[in-house]
């Protein structure tokens, strides 16, 4: 029995009447990741109540987050917003002493056109703590794209690399000849330009990815975001960057255009197939031949056998809310499931090119039709389609 495979990927767009979470939700995981940060969300009661529920029990552990709650006087521009923010930031500095304060703009600040980017540098100079501004609002973004706006803002604060690429190569040669102990450490890794990975992951997952690349003799110079704000990696001309999350298209663009880095476009390390493809894309850039990936992937699939038996042949419909849908669909198809539709809030076709082609390849390999992709879905229409 042969199945006609649809070669072209169709991406449709619907009305955008769907449910997703507000992008300020990114605060709930980013404040934990960046240990010396403080997040100040400038919004209203609605925003505050949402984060209170999202953080759940964590809110009682005095998280490094607070709301600058806008009241009627602020909205009608009767009170000076600079003075208001200054007072709050001074208090934050006194109570928590963070290395960075990140202002999160919301729908409200967009509508009243509060000039956060204008006020931040001035206040930073006055109180002596770096202040970043990320406009994570529901008018423009959905859910995980909040992290995208924060990382894009943070990218500007990364230091310049200390040497240019050519100089660094010479320095390494220098080390090799004179410092034999150092030599042992360097031989573990190939001689290659800086690689910085971007995307927020729990530190043990990040360590595992570092280890996987280390096995291929590739050294990860740093992560954006780093565990501490003071440990931000160096970015600049000659530095290679690679993302781990599908929703970081703005950060990728900022890194390419403003910081002049080279982006390695790879599918995302979600699932054993994705992880292998991700490593396979990175290795050739540094002239390294990937080793042992096929066996490793096979072994993982073996260990998942019980679960694979459970899901084999069953079907899935992605309604779409977190932008990870394409990678998840690809993984589940590889697991033997059928995906009817992939709803997704927004898909940057260029940033997800590699992932999309991996999706196509996986569909061909598993002999299933390529699911349709619907951007900005309409939940009611989707429910109707599910019933049909």
């Amino acid at each position: 029995m042969s199945v006609k495979i649809d070669e072209t990927l169709i991406v449709e767009c619907e009305t955008g009447n769907y449910h997703t979470f507000c992008p300020i939700s990114c605060v709930s995981w980013l404040y934990q990741k960046i240990e010396d940060s403080f997040f100040l969300v400038v919004g209203t009661k609605t925003c505050g109540y949402f984060l209170q529920n999202a953080l759940g029990v964590m809110i009682f552990a005095e998280p490094r987050y607070a709301m600058a709650e806008l009241e009627e006087g602020d909205i009608s521009a009767q009170l000076n917003d600079y003075e208001g923010l200054k007072k709050l930031c001074i208090r934050i500095r006194k109570d928590r002493d963070p290395s960075v304060i990140i202002w999160i703009g919301t729908c409200t600040t967009e509508i009243i056109k509060m000039d956060l980017e204008g006020m931040a540098p001035k206040l930073e100079w006055e109180i002596g703590i770096p202040i970043l501004v990320a406009r994570a609002n529901g008018l423009d973004y959905a859910f995980t794209q909040g992290e995208d706006t924060v990382l894009a803002a943070m990218a500007h604060r990364c230091p310049e690399p200390e040497f240019s690429v050519r100089e660094r190569k010479e320095t390494i040669q220098h080390f090799l000849t004179f410092h034999s102990r150092k030599k042992e450490e360097l031989v573990e890794y190939a001689n290659h330009p800086s690689l910085v990975l971007f995307g927020s992951l729990p530190s043990n997952v990040a360590s595992q990815l570092n280890l996987e690349l280390k096995r291929q003799s590739i050294k990860v110079s740093g992560w954006l975001p780093a565990q501490k704000y003071t440990d931000l990696p160096s970015l600049g001309d000659g530095v290679y960057v690679c993302g781990v999350h599908p929703f970081l298209s703005r950060t990728a663009t900022t890194l390419i255009r403003r910081e002049k880095c080279q982006l390695i476009a790879a599918p995302f390390p979600i699932g054993p197939d994705g992880t292998r493809a991700w490593i396979e894309k990175i290795c050739p850039v540094f002239g390294v031949e990937p080793q042992g990936l096929e066996e490793r992937e096979e072994r993982i699939w073996e260990s998942l056998k019980d679960y694979l038996d459970l899901v084999d042949g069953k079907s899935v419909f992605f309604m779409g809310d977190n932008l990870l849908e394409v990678s998840l669909a690809r993984f589940l198809i590889r697991c033997g499931m059928i995906v009817h539709e992939i709803g997704i809030p927004y898909m940057d076709k260029r940033y997800q090119t590699a992932e999309l082609s991996l999706l196509q390849d996986t569909c061909i390999k598993m002999c299933v039709p390529i699911p349709r992709i619907v951007e900005k879905p309409d939940n009611s229409n989707q429910i109707r389609r599910i019933r049909e």
Partner: protein
């Protein structure tokens, strides 16, 4: 602008949505940006609902910001009308959209011309009013809309029911133990031979609202929500109402006596028999409710004179204070509420029952007060429970805002005679836990277990290198020991002497095969 990270009452639109989603066949539409419709998931999660919540959003995005909603809101209303056929559609803005100052009333008027369902605009000021006040107002608005229309069309049936009947106003979704309280009230009213005309808004239908005035009087179990409606029904239709919370044995008796008075007043005019509930009250208080007997028992004498702090919404904070003092002989050093708009009533109710009164919606003030007072137990919201955890003071939760654990699947009313039992249990258990911990501390209860498990792991002589030790320390405490043991077991099996980070991850993978 103020620094906040916790609020006791949510924003106004949540109150409106709670009322809308409590009614049957009513659909709410939020005029809001993406993400403001988190109420949907909140409700299905906390109430453990199986169906989608009947609330959707008419999305406000950049286009709307630039050009206004134009046809979008009206189209969305009409679409819901066709898809779901609700009896009523309520349109509500959120904080964000209310700044846009679009003429939502106009959209509602236009839509209602075409749609089969009724359409109302929930008229609440988002910067003046909180969740609770908004719920009260929206309920009143809905009731008023239907009764006014009925009156205008001169359709309504002016006669009271033949047998005594009541409306219960104020049971709604995501309310603190509301569903259980409702069941208890039904049972009580059945015992008193009183019929229930309607319960609104939970499970009520807007089509039936026109029959509200047929009941003899109204019961408002929680004064925060429902009072406005009761006042309206009293003014326009002369319906008496009882707004005492039937919580605790003393207030229960008072509540039943007031019911008796109302029934007898109206009975006289239609010449039925008078009722006397005194024997019922007596029987329930002394025999059915265990609380009254228990509070005189030796176990409870332990608690006499102990100091507590109470904080919550006006209904629960006031009632619990009175129960603690009047019925259990426990002292209340400070009682407070975050319902600032009802402060006068609160103060009047608990005057003389406690040493200090605190009216605030700033959790930091409450925390300071508790730290300063050092009570033996706290009775408050989940925020007070966490303050208690930090200060090592036991706490029972008696009021919203709450977590999912306060939406129990089992039957746990706060009202009624069963409620008195539940409250007595809660109070006693809150104190007892504190004492248990204390005893364990004195007698070193947990020590022996630690020694046993330590000896198993140190026997082996495996070395953890500095990096793996660091990695281990990043694992949360409750999982760390397990990971440690699993890794060491793996290392022993493979004959590895030094544990590195790689060994840790290999052990983790091996665990899954």
């Amino acid at each position: 602008m103020k620094l906040a990270y916790w609020m006791y009452a949510g924003p106004a639109h949540i109150g409106t949505l709670r009322v809308a989603s409590s009614f049957k066949n009513v659909h709410a539409i939020m005029h809001a940006p993406l993400g403001d419709d988190y109420f949907n998931v909140m409700r299905s999660m906390l109430e453990r609902e199986r169906d989608f919540t009947a609330a959707t959003a008419s999305i406000v995005d950049r286009h709307v910001l630039a050009r206004g909603s134009q046809e979008r809101v009206v189209d969305n209303i009409l679409r819901k009308d066709k898809e779901e056929h609700p009896d009523l559609i309520i349109l509500t803005p959120t904080c964000t959209s209310s700044i846009l100052q679009e003429d939502l009333q106009n959209f509602v008027n236009r839509a209602s011309i075409i749609s089969d369902s009724d359409v109302i605009f929930a008229d609440v000021d988002h910067y003046q009013v909180n969740e609770i006040q908004a719920a009260d107002r929206t309920l009143e608005q809905v009731v008023r809309y239907y009764l006014d229309r009925c009156h205008r069309q001169e359709k309504w049936d002016q006669f009271l029911t033949n047998v005594p009947s009541v409306n219960i106003i104020g049971i709604f979704t995501l309310g603190f133990h509301n569903q259980h309280d409702c069941r208890e009230l039904r049972r009580l009213l059945r015992d008193l031979d009183i019929e229930i005309n309607q319960i609104i808004p939970e499970g009520g239908s807007v089509e039936d609202l026109q029959n509200l005035p047929k009941a003899w009087f109204n019961l408002i179990p929680y004064r925060e929500v429902g009072l406005m409606t009761a006042v309206y029904l009293n003014k326009e239709y002369g319906m008496p109402y009882i707004s005492i919370a039937p919580m605790g044995a003393v207030d229960m008796a008072e509540w039943i006596r007031q019911i008796q008075k109302n029934v007898n007043t109206l009975t006289l005019s239609s010449s039925n028999k008078r009722v006397d509930y005194e024997p019922y009250i007596d029987g329930q208080t002394r025999f059915v409710s265990q609380a009254a007997w228990f509070s005189r028992s030796i176990d409870c004498q332990n608690l006499t004179g102990k100091e507590t702090v109470v904080f919550g919404d006006t209904t629960h904070a006031a009632s619990i204070t009175k129960i603690l003092v009047r019925e259990m002989g426990i002292r209340v050093s400070c009682a407070g509420t975050y319902c600032k708009h009802d402060a006068e009533w609160f103060k009047e109710q608990i005057q003389g029952f406690c040493d200090e009164i605190l009216i605030t919606d700033d959790h930091a003030e409450v925390g300071d007060m508790i730290a300063h007072t050092e009570p033996s137990a706290i009775f408050g919201t989940q925020m007070e429970r966490h303050i208690g955890k930090r200060l090592d003071i036991p706490c029972g939760v008696i009021s919203a805002p709450v977590h999912i654990q306060n939406f129990p699947l089992g039957y746990r009313p706060f009202l009624g005679y069963e409620g008195t039992n539940q409250i007595a249990d809660l109070i006693y258990n809150s104190f007892a836990l504190g004492m248990e911990d204390h005893l364990l501390e004195i007698f070193g209860g947990h020590d022996t277990k630690e020694i046993i498990s330590k000896s198993i792991s140190t026997d082996i002589g495996l070395i953890w290198n500095p990096e793996s030790r660091l990695e281990l320390s990043k694992i949360p405490r409750f999982a760390r020991e397990k990971v440690e043991r699993n890794t060491e077991k793996f290392a022993r099996q493979k004959g590895i002497e030094t544990i590195t980070v790689e060994v840790m991850y290999a052990a983790k993978e091996a665990l899954n095969t």
